[in-house]
């Protein structure tokens, strides 16, 4: 590559890094403005992804969040290798890239003064996929809520099962739901917040089992992939298919809440827990 085209590329990258392009309306937004607006597009209300810690800061009262089960991380128990290499290497690369060691952060804290346990998924780590470590943290947090008798909130952001862990990943659906079943038995509230995207095995387990199912505007929520369904039925699907709005219309979620209102909404509904 000639020096000038390299310089131009570098210049372009510098400029690009100052701007965020909205995935929905394609507008360019100053990075600072984007962050100040909680990664939500000021033009079209598109809710971009945020990290687990960013979400924790938005929801929990300052200084109240106490992280739990942080040491849990994935292992390559099947010795899984595909075209692009080993799962083992992928785990290390994802740890390095994201600075976290699993696709979910768990802990307890206060939301406008109300104690709650939370599991917050992070899409940056292997697409938020449900591995054994992910399932373990979600179950441990449910068990903590069960023992402490305080509400449990899970924020999902996941492409579904983690293929590199085979059926061990599938079994995390049963493992996490076993935790939810115990909360149900003890009448401890479980709130599921389905953020963009929540699909596959995560939707078909704990994410759909909330006493309240909440979502953010425009979030994609579904079981089977859009392309798979289009191939099955041989026709194009409607644009709003598998969106939070579509699920609200079909009766599967209680409410669509914007990111800036989420904390207030959660503390409001939790204030009705009268036990």
């Amino acid at each position: 590559m000639a020096w000038y085209s390299k310089a131009i590329t570098e210049k372009k990258q510098q400029i690009k890094s100052l701007w965020v392009r909205c995935k929905k309306c394609q507008s360019h937004i100053w990075q600072e403005e984007w962050h100040n607006n909680l990664n939500v597009c000021p033009h079209c209300n598109y809710h971009g992804s945020i990290t687990a810690y960013e979400r924790i800061n938005l929801i929990f009262d300052e200084g109240t969040f106490n992280e739990l089960f942080a040491s849990i991380s994935p292992v390559d128990s099947l010795g899984f290798n595909d075209l692009k290499g080993s799962y083992k290497d992928k785990i290390e690369a994802n740890k390095k890239k994201s600075g976290i060691s699993e696709a979910v952060i768990t802990g307890e804290g206060k939301i406008n003064g109300i104690r709650a346990v939370a599991a917050v998924m992070d899409f940056r780590f292997l697409g938020g996929s449900l591995g054994s470590g992910t399932g373990e943290k979600i179950l441990q947090a449910a068990n903590f809520a069960f023992e402490q008798e305080i509400p449990y909130i899970v924020f999902s952001a996941s492409g579904g099962a983690r293929m590199q862990e085979g059926v061990l990943s599938l079994m995390q659906m049963a493992k996490t739901c076993a935790g939810v079943a115990r909360l149900n038995k003890k009448d401890i509230p479980f709130i599921s917040v389905l953020t963009n995207p929540t699909t596959g095995g995560v939707t078909a387990s704990y994410a759909m089992m909330g006493d309240l199912n909440i979502s953010e505007p425009g979030a994609v929520i579904g079981f089977a992939g859009r392309r798979v369904i289009e191939q099955t039925i041989g026709e194009k699907l409607p644009d709003d298919f598998q969106t939070a709005e579509y699920l609200l219309e079909h009766g599967f979620i209680d409410s669509i809440v914007t990111r800036k209102d989420m904390k207030k909404y959660l503390s409001q509904v939790l204030s009705y827990y009268n036990r």
């Binding site: 595909d82 061990l168 599938l170 079994m171 049963a174 076993a178 089992m209 579904g222 079981f223 089977a224």
Partner: protein, 292 residues
């Protein structure tokens, strides 16, 4: 993690596995087992229903929407023991495959299954589920009516169902569609059945960028009964006769009956609170991870 010592392996003689003569004496590859699990002559749910169970009383409908023929269920008797049986039914020929949607259930199928499980609890009957599905139906109406919710609900409710539950995988254990009737106290697989988080073809087209790498994906996914027993996902393997269950319907029926009766007797002797605690511990221990 629990040790595998308490698990009983009914299969040991790998040298006897054969497939159409071509693989005589060799251990079958994961892909060869996938092909046997989908063999067109392989016995399906309705075969076992007739050869293993008696006095079947079919119960229809989910009470909300319809009656999904991909899942069949009702009262039945096995070796003198009364049970609730629920299973995916693929059907035996093209006409039946279409009628039963190749065993790919929709939300109304999973909701019918749950209704029958709750009924079993009311009648104090153990539940036997028979798994044989490529997966839950990936269609527009299935999503519209809550495919994810119906599977999630079943998985959650089965974890707390107050009667013994045995799940037997006879052919394909296709992901969430299988697990939707597959949470139980004992998980049993036929030796050439498979259980997978995704089809080998689907996995290959994502991770290998081409479905033709399905044999590699099948190997990597650890989807055979033998591998799953090793990973402590299942509890028992029923050895198939000859070159597979399709070669001897009578023998496989006998083996299935023997295993189910034995497990039903064992589980029925356990008080329900201990049973539920053990079931919770069983699923709590699923999977391997580091750092706790």
């Amino acid at each position: 993690m629990a040790v595998a010592s308490s698990l009983k392996v009914l299969t040991s003689d790998k040298s006897k596995h054969k497939l159409n003569g071509s693989t005589k004496g060799k251990q079958l590859s994961a892909w060869e087992i996938v092909k046997i699990s989908r063999h067109p002559q392989r016995p399906v749910f309705q075969d076992y229903l007739h050869s293993v169970f008696t006095d079947f009383v079919e119960l229809h409908g989910d009470r909300y929407y319809g009656d999904d023929k991909a899942i069949v269920g009702g009262f039945a008797t096995i070796g003198g023991i009364k049970v609730m049986i629920i299973g995916h039914n693929k059907g035996k020929n093209t006409e039946q495959h279409v009628e039963r949607n190749f065993g790919m259930a929709k939300p109304e199928g999973y909701r019918k299954a749950l209704r029958l499980m709750k009924l079993a609890q009311r009648f104090n009957l153990p539940v036997v589920t028979i798994i044989d599905t490529p997966g839950a139906f990936p269609g527009l109406e299935a999503e519209e009516r809550g495919q994810a919710e119906s599977i999630a609900k079943n998985i959650t409710e089965m974890a707390a169902l107050e009667v013994p539950v045995i799940s037997l995988v006879i052919g394909e254990g296709g992901s969430g569609g299988a697990l939707g009737i597959g949470v139980g106290d004992k998980i049993i697989m036929l030796s050439n059945a498979i259980y997978s988080v995704i089809s080998p073809e689907g996995c290959a087209s994502i991770l290998w960028r081409d479905a033709k790498f399905a044999p590699d994906a099948a190997q990597a996914l650890n989807l055979t009964a033998e591998r799953l027993l090793h990973h402590e996902v299942i509890d028992e393997i029923i050895k198939e006769p000859g070159e597979g269950a399709h070669t001897d319907y009578e023998k496989i029926a006998d083996a299935v009956k023997k295993s189910l009766v034995k497990n039903l007797k064992t589980l029925s002797a356990i008080p329900v609170d201990i049973l539920l605690d053990k079931r919770f511990q069983k699923y709590s221990a699923m999977g391997k991870f580091a750092g706790f």
